[in-house]
Amino acid sequence: MSRGLKTTIAILAVMVVFGVITLPSLRQAIQRLSGPPKTEEQARRDVMQVPISTPTDVKVKAQVYWLSASSMASLEATTIELPLSADPVERSKQLLVALITSAPTPAQHTLPPDTSLLAFYLQPDGTAIADFSDALPAGTPSGILSEQLVVDSVAQTLAANVDAIRQLKILIHGQEAETLAGHLDLSGLFPVSSPAPVPPPAAAPTPAATAPGQAKPTVPVATPSAPATQVPH
């Protein structure tokens, strides 16, 4: 075998190995380019809603309030394992991101899944300020009941997992909004009180109501007839 042939075979071999190594990433890039273009909202969400991790994160069983699988007119607590920070602000962000992105089923979402949590602040008096993207009012079904459930799911999720929060203010894209989606008044503060202790669930969860890695859902604790969801001023 001539020396030139050997060199050619060696170069070809190197190229094949290089091709094998880069093939998966090339395939991903092609898939990404062939998909629909990202909206500005989705792009912002990709940047803002990366998993939040802090040095004090500890995996705990958190109670998150989504729509009940049996009744779309009430919430129910679902226990999921989440890495949560000891810092109340970071902990609240982690919980709200989970509330937006990790509903057991699409039908149980309370906040629209393309909503971004833009900012979260906690004042010394226990007033939390959650700033959501425009996707929240745009994607929330219009109605007193549906808008109340959105706010209740945020307030009850925070109440169940963050001790320092007493009341909640909701902003939309940094601004105070008159209503969430035409009905619920966002000008005031929503009380954040710990939900009453619920008895342990009596029955095993149905597969439809439980996503992988999630614990048993508890009985519904919020109904439309539950009193006082907001403090208007």
């Binding site: 007119a73 109605g143 007193i144 549906s146 035409g182 008044d185 969801t229």
Partner: protein, 258 residues
Amino acid sequence: MRRKPISIFLVLIVAGVAALQASPQTQTPQPPAPQGAPQASPQTLPQPAAPRSALTAVVLDPAHGGADQGARGASGIAESDIVLSFARLLRISLEAQGLRVILTRQANDDPSFDDRSKMANAQRGAIFITLHVSSTGPAGTVRVYSLPQQPAGASASSTPRTGLIRWDAAQQGYLDQSRKLAELIQIQMAQRFQGSPETPAAVAVRQLRTIAAPAVAIEVSSVSVPDRTPLDQMAPLMADGVARAVGAFRTVYETGVK
């Protein structure tokens, strides 16, 4: 002839002195506003007159309208159309009780929240009912809402010195009456529409906040039905139930029973 201007001048002085003496009596101690709460609106309303007047009018508010259709069903049902139909039917039932009925909109227009409130706040002896159809919830049920109670220490509904009611907290002085009206209507709805709750909910509905009268919201579920027939069938029953509840509320309103 020359005495007339002097007498007018004296009347004005007496009226001015009387107003100065009356002014401190209308002042009420004001608890501090909570941190983070928006500042008081400069707009104010006169405080409700005592003794209470008779209940003579109902302001019906078909929500949304114009470009704002409210909740939209997949089949094209628009909340703004349905609530206008409800309001027209309810008007007949209420007028049959001898009540004057004012609609905040008669056609497909969209007055602002404040414009609707102005119509209600211009009436004496009136109650306010805003009508809605939801996007979600068990079809064929009806929920009634009033504003929640304000916690101790929250900002007051009346302004210092003048005793006038703050426009943006006009409902605060009527929460008990509104709750009572909501209870009476919700009982009627629960009797007529299976699955409806037995008791009303306290929710911060924006339209109610600026109403200086007993005020409730009624929301029917929902626009998700395949066509509007089931909603149209609910309308006469709902009108009858609301009219009965309003009739029962007249006693509460006129006697001040709690």
